[in-house]
């Protein structure tokens, strides 16, 4: 499937099937099974997975429109998570299971025990988006990529929580959960590969949500009449929305570069992936903070209602700016590496998109 076809397919499915009624049913707790089926049937969940594993083998660059689309159309599915899980498994030469896959980005006392067929996972992950809908979770524990069984209540205790986006954000306690497959981390030069790839995906999703927000603001400012003219004719409104356009543009650029730098096969070296992921997640987070505030100000009271579509995008932006490492979380790790490089190393590292100390600053 070419990148244009991926973009068309994603846009068609999302535009035709993600509507207000579906989002409201989702927020009342209904799993959008038909939408998920369409994503699966059209190959979106397996876009990044290698062809050997039954995937499309698309690059992150090619898959960007899917991720962006999740934000632009506010698609209520663990699609990015499943794409990343499938990529990690297929890059490690492991089979990809059917159904949605959750990602365990970090946890407390996560550890493997046993060997061979009987490897078991223990520990607690406080925030695992979508866990309740997933029979499988992917994690990297002690340098090992593992596929864990989430579906056994005897070994996996799930505490259901929700993000501000009203998407599942569950706590998962593993107590000897079965590991269905294990392999060496397929991207060894990527520190914290699950967290890092999730951050790349979130950045692209946020860029999409920001684009929608900007279009929505322009539309509303052009339609809404006060004092006898559209409010968008006021310079104060124009200047605010123009600032937002800059933020949306910067976030989009950073996300596109993060996708271009992210690894799509185990064979491809990805020296710039970590830096570009950090830059993208930080920039998207800052953009979300500023843009959400402006968007609500432009919309006035109607934008503060549940009924208006605006909050479906802003609630996602506020959720995603926290998820997969907040902007401050990434900035601390990037900043430490920048300081380690000293002034003399700053610019050469910027143009290489690689700060030598960054893998180690990810560890604490």
């Amino acid at each position: 499937m070419s990148d244009a076809m991926i973009e068309e397919t994603a846009a068609r499915i999302f535009a035709d099937h993600v509507d207000r009624a579906l989002l409201e049913r989702f927020e009342k707790g209904e799993w959008p099974a038909r939408l998920w089926g369409l994503a699966v049937d059209n190959g979106l969940t397996m876009a990044l997975a290698g062809e050997d594993a039954g995937g499309i083998g698309a690059t992150w660059h090619d898959a960007y429109p899917i991720l962006r689309g999740i934000g632009y159309w506010q698609v209520p599915l663990p699609l990015a998570e499943t794409m990343i899980g499938a990529l990690l498994l297929s890059a490690a030469g492991r089979a990809v299971p059917d159904g949605p896959i959750a990602l365990v980005e970090e946890g407390e006392a996560l550890a493997l025990a046993g060997s061979g067929e009987a490897v078991r996972l223990s520990g607690t992950a406080r925030r695992v988006p979508w866990a309740r809908h997933c029979a499988h979770a992917v994690a990297v524990v002690g340098g090992q990529l593992v596929l864990a069984n989430l579906a056994d209540p005897a070994t996996v205790r799930l505490t259901q929580r929700e993000s501000p986006a009203r998407e599942p954000d569950d706590e998962v306690a593993f107590d000897g959960a079965r590991v269905l497959a294990a392999a060496a981390n397929p991207f060894p030069d990527l520190a914290a590969p699950v967290r890092t790839l999730a951050a790349v995906a979130k950045s692209a999703m946020m860029a999409g949500a920001l684009e929608w927000l900007l279009e929505q603001c322009v539309q509303y400012a052009s339609d809404r009449v006060q004092f006898g003219r559209p409010i968008g004719k006021n310079q104060a409104i124009q200047q605010s929305i123009a600032l937002m356009a800059g933020d949306a543009g910067a976030a989009r650029m950073a996300a596109l570069v993060a996708c271009a730098d992210a690894p799509d096969t185990a064979a491809r070296a990805c020296p710039a992936a970590l830096f570009s992921a950090a830059a993208a997640k930080i920039r998207a987070g800052e953009a979300a903070t500023r843009a959400a505030s402006i968007a609500h100000q432009v919309h006035g009271a109607i934008g503060f209602t549940y009924e208006h579509q605006l909050n479906y995008a802003t609630r996602r932006l506020w959720t995603w700016r926290e998820a997969s490492g907040s902007d401050a979380w990434w900035a601390e790790r990037l900043g430490r590496a920048v300081i380690e490089a000293r002034a003399a190393g700053f610019w050469p590292s910027m143009t290489r998109r690689q700060f030598a100390a960054m893998p180690s600053t990810m560890e604490h």
Binding site: A221, S222, Q235, A245, A254, A279, E332, I339, E340, F346
Partner: protein
């Protein structure tokens, strides 16, 4: 909104090879330049440095060889520019001439003025200033009152330009003046002239800025006679010519890198174990990464022959925010704690005083956001 969209641009291996060459050159040429000078960024002028760059073929790299150019790509030029700026090189002498004046002359007077003047620009010997603003005409550029009247001997210019950066070392000015009446269209009746700064009747008076430096000038025209062939482009078309020129004026990486020396001093003063310092520096670095790619993307648009006017306004607006936040962040982290007389203390003091101009020069923040709003369809 399409005009605001900037796509990523990948630099070729040739560009990276050129980067290595420029770095080697700068390591030598900048070896004795202290941080106290680098902090001036592209406001620092050194004709000797400009001539050295010219000799390397790094001024007007993209221009035709008949004008002294090297016919290299816009992206190669971008690499040279960003390396110069990141190093705090003193490029001010030739910067304006290279960035916009030469382009104007090559486009609008390819046979007369360009062959005469542009090769000197490429050698780093000929410098320009821009005569746009006037005492009563800042953001409202169409209200300029300096007037040129046609006579048999040439055009006679009377009036006053102000905030003219580098006029005291420039050999020429491109002046935007009124040659006709505004009429219904406020932007009508404007024309551009090439003015030799040594012409009798032209006076340059320094205006010292709040940093304490002489960059600005007031330029007075008192019956300044300009030859007929120094009308640049078409009489009455000055406004559209200037609009194209401003796109170039706003499109470069100097619009986000101006506070780099202060960032470098902060990095050297920072402690990697200090989370507050790390977060602040990490955020700036992420913004640099995004701005660099956007700025590069604008160069990609230039390389493809697209009009980057709106995209450039967007990058300049975002860039100035980061440049201007730098002294406030440095103040937050190190204010009052930097050793007196240290490079950090100096960079902080200098940059604090300098940054208010960054969202004024080359189009104010408000004008830029107006351009962006137009791109969004709001105006």
């Amino acid at each position: 909104m399409q005009a605001l969209r900037i796509d990523p641009c990948t630099l070729s291996p040739e560009c990276e090879a050129l980067r290595a060459e420029v770095r080697a050159f700068l390591a030598e040429a900048m070896a004795d330049v202290p941080p106290q000078k680098r902090v001036r960024s592209w406001a620092g002028a050194s004709p000797a440095f400009s001539r050295k760059l010219g000799a390397r073929g790094w001024i007007g790299m993209t221009w035709p060889t008949r004008y002294g150019g090297r016919e290299r790509s816009a992206l190669e030029r971008y690499v040279v520019m960003e390396e110069l700026l990141a190093a705090g090189a003193p490029v001010a002498a030739h910067w304006i001439a290279e960035r916009q004046s030469a382009l104007l002359l090559m486009r609008l007077s390819p046979e007369v003025l360009a062959p005469r003047i542009v090769p000197g620009i490429a050698r780093g010997e000929t410098y320009f200033c821009i005569g746009m603003s006037e005492p009563d005409s800042g953001s409202d550029l169409a209200s300029v009152r300096t007037r040129a009247v046609r006579t048999d001997a040439g055009w006679v210019i009377n009036g006053r330009k102000v905030w003219t950066s580098g006029a005291h070392r420039a050999h020429y000015m491109i002046a935007l003046v009124r040659t006709g009446t505004a009429g219904e269209q406020r932007h009508a009746g404007l024309s551009q002239f090439l003015v030799d700064m040594k012409t009798p009747g032209l006076t340059v008076r320094p205006i010292v800025n709040q940093v304490g430096e002489h960059d600005f000038n007031e330029v007075t025209f008192d019956d300044v006679l300009v030859p007929h062939d120094c009308l640049v482009g078409t009489e009455g078309e000055g406004w559209s010519q200037v609009s194209a020129e401003l796109a170039f004026e706003r499109s470069g990486p100097e619009r986000y890198l101006s506070s780099t020396e202060l960032l470098l001093q902060m990095i050297d003063a920072a402690d990697p174990a200090d989370a507050r310092q790390a977060v602040a520096i990490g955020r700036i670095s992420a913004n640099y990464a995004a701005l660099r790619q956007m700025s590069l993307g604008v160069s990609g648009m230039l390389a493809r022959g697209e009009n980057p006017a709106q995209a450039a306004a967007l990058v300049k607006d975002q860039g100035a925010l980061v440049e201007q936040a730098m002294p406030d962040i440095a103040h937050d982290l190190f204010g009052g704690a930097a050793a007196p007389g240290s490079a950090l203390a100096h960079a902080l003091a200098y940059t604090t005083l300098a940054v208010p101009s960054f969202s004024l020069r080359g189009g104010t923040r408000e004008i830029l956001r107006g351009i962006i709003a137009r791109g969004l369809g709001l105006r």
